[in-house]
């Protein structure tokens, strides 16, 4: 994690577990009359969103505000800022105003790396989703959700737990971050997708892959369904939405083959009827709403650990990055 949180791969197991344990303490805050802690009083967190993502932005906003940070929302979508050079100008503006952390969502893979390593800003950079690269806080909240549900029956860890991640892995930053983080935490990840939606070189990732959803489901401890955009059909990634749903959608029939304890997850927003049917999304196994709640706690943990002290509490504090 160092000074920044750019990739789930930057987190050691120790770092990741510290985030989870911290989030566990912070989660109880939601039950208190005053849902606020003073830890980041006087710190400024900028939500710099070059892409629309209301749910991620408000999650970070709630997290920062509950830690008493000042929050500035900077939505750059649709403005002239979608062009590259303005990332730098925007960064210089934020630097001049004085901010302690930049939470950045950007359509270009690697934009948070540029922000963190270009010398434009001194603030900590938190990747809130970049292109088709990574979304590390989503992976942390997913791992946190799994850990809460599966940990108690597995010695408090995710060691050896089988996680199926199903859908458009190729275009999914969530899948990339989850594959890295869950591997770090000892889980066994299987990516399930049609061959056209698996990245080239996936065989070198620390995961299994499968084209056969029905073969994977009965062994899984958690099933994470990824959003599949219908437009992918036009790129020839699969013939029709109907064929996709038939082969890779999670419906009631498939859900019946899951083990009793298995949870169903989705990072949202869901395309109901495409990758997941409504009865599955709304079933008892579904922890999709809880993922949202956990998102705030995990992002509080990340912001606290990065900004709460004199230096980040996770990873190598010198901020060096490859």
């Amino acid at each position: 994690m160092k000074k920044h949180l750019l990739s789930a791969g930057d987190l050691s197991r120790e770092d990741a577990e510290l985030v989870l344990h911290t989030a566990e303490e912070l989660r109880s805050l939601a039950d208190r009359p005053i849902k606020k802690l003073p830890a980041l009083r006087g710190r400024t967190v900028v939500n710099l969103f070059f892409e629309d993502s209301t749910r991620t932005r408000i999650s970070f906003e709630a997290a920062a505000k509950r830690l008493s940070a000042d929050v500035i929302n900077f939505s750059a979508k649709g403005s002239s800022l979608s062009k590259g050079e303005s990332l730098k100008d925007t960064a210089l503006t934020l630097e001049a105003m004085g901010c302690d952390a930049v939470v950045i969502r950007h359509g270009a893979s690697g934009a948070p790396h540029r922000l963190a390593n270009s010398g434009w800003v001194r603030a900590s950079v938190v990747n809130a989703g970049d292109g088709t690269h990574e979304h590390p806080t989503q992976a942390l909240l997913d791992a946190f959700t799994m850990w809460r549900h599966l940990g108690p029956r597995n010695g408090g860890t995710l060691d050896g737990q089988r996680i199926a991640i199903v859908g458009d892995v190729l275009h999914s930053r969530v899948a990339r971050s989850n594959a890295l983080l869950l591997h770090t935490l000892g889980a066994e990840v299987t990516l399930v997708a049609p061959p056209t939606l698996l990245p080239v070189g996936v065989d070198s990732w620390p995961v299994e892959t499968s084209y056969d959803l029905d073969g994977v489901l009965p062994k899984a401890d958690a099933v994470m369904m990824l959003r599949v955009q219908r437009e992918r059909m036009n790129g020839g990634f699969f013939p029709t939405a109907r064929e996709y749903s038939r082969r890779y959608g999670l419906d009631g029939r498939r859900m019946a083959t899951l083990q009793e304890h298995t949870i169903v997850m989705h990072p949202g927003p869901m395309v109901r009827g495409m990758e997941i049917t409504a009865d599955v999304a709304d079933s008892d196994r579904s922890v999709i709403v809880e993922q949202v709640t956990n998102g705030v706690a995990v992002r509080m943990a990340v912001l606290y650990l990065l900004l709460g002290g004199s230096e980040p509490a996770v990873g190598n504090p010198d901020g060096a990055d490859a």
């Binding site: 062009k83 590259g84 050079e85 990332l87 730098k88 950007h106 359509g107 270009a108 893979s109 690697g110 934009a111 790396h113 540029r114 390593n117 270009s118 970049d130 292109g131 088709t132 690269h133 990574e134 930053r173 990339r176 990245p199 080239v200 070189g201 996936v202 070198s204 990732w205 490859a322």
Partner: protein, 425 residues
Amino acid sequence: MSSFLVKGARILGGDTRDVLIRDGVLVFGEPDADAEVIDATGLIALPGLVDLHTHLREPGREDAETVLTGTQAAAMGGFTAVHAMANTDPVADTAGVVEQVWRLGREGGYCDVYPVGAVTVGLAGRQLAELGAMADSAARVRVFSDDGHCVGDAVLMRRALEYVKAFDGVVAQHAQEPRLTENAQMNEGELSGRLGLAGWPAVAEEAVIARDCLLAAHVGSRLHVCHVSTAGSVELIRQAKASGWNVTAEVTPHHLLLTDELAASYDPVYKVNPPLRTTADTEALRAGLADGTIDVVATDHAPHPLEDKDCEWAAAAFGMLGLETALSVVQETMVDPGLLSWADVADRMSYAPARIGRVSDHGRPLEDGAPANLVLYDPSVRRVVEAAESVSLSRNTPYAGMELPGRVVATFRHGKPTVLDGKLA
């Protein structure tokens, strides 16, 4: 014109012979008391280098480079002739534009500039440009390329190959299957998947090379393949040559030295078209250059202003500087490991490109009466490349901070020094 007596240089890295530069030609074995003496002890004399692939950006992007600054950078790298690619604004697809570029080169006096003509109007890939008019112009264009774009249409490519036969021209193809590389950002492989950057498969280059080799053979014309970047491409060209087809190829210094691992920094200074490939590819390219499968080292010098690189990867322009560092990179990757002799370097960087471009007064052996196009190079020093030291208008060198061997000490073009003591003369 003053004359120079170069003393003690090793000709092509071999025997030491003094050479007199007088009246624009080389004279061996004749003293001249009036000549300015240049102590070239320990230096290597090579024929002036010829670049088959340079972007000078003028007209249109004078903020990135001009013919003057680009040819100055070339002279600093030991070049005496450069082929200026056609993707300017306006595109060099008419006699008027190529003559303008040619004339700017003459006025600058640092290099002879040979404009490359566009194959299709506006590089749009739909209609042949007036290739004959450019060939007949004062610029005497012989190399035609839509570089930056692939002539993707097989019929159009066939016609171009056929048509240039009339004036002994050559089509230099930028081999990139357009549909396979839509929005592509870097070499397709394990790393592109991990970095979430859209992949650029090797097959997109190789498929076009295979097709074009077959077309060239079919119509009996000359094909030149620009910036070969994959092991598979080397193999295809090897086979085409073995079949006796008239195919030549070039490799850039950066594809000899750098690999796609650099993209992991997301620093767009490493973003280039074709993309940096794997270590296995660089090894195949070096072997291909060594055995003559690849004829030429060409720089694909592609200057870009800071703002086009100081941004996120996907928004950045493709391309990197190359003129000033080319010889050093070739020494590092080819000469020092023993893959090429200095005489071979003279072939790959001077004789062969001049031959392919049909340039008569460059790329000639260093012998009595030859045009005095000469570079003196010190292979014994090592230096750390500083972007700020470039004489190019742009700073997008991928070698900044890297230590490379060698230094161009002097360059002579038609007997006149363009570089002396490592500085522009």
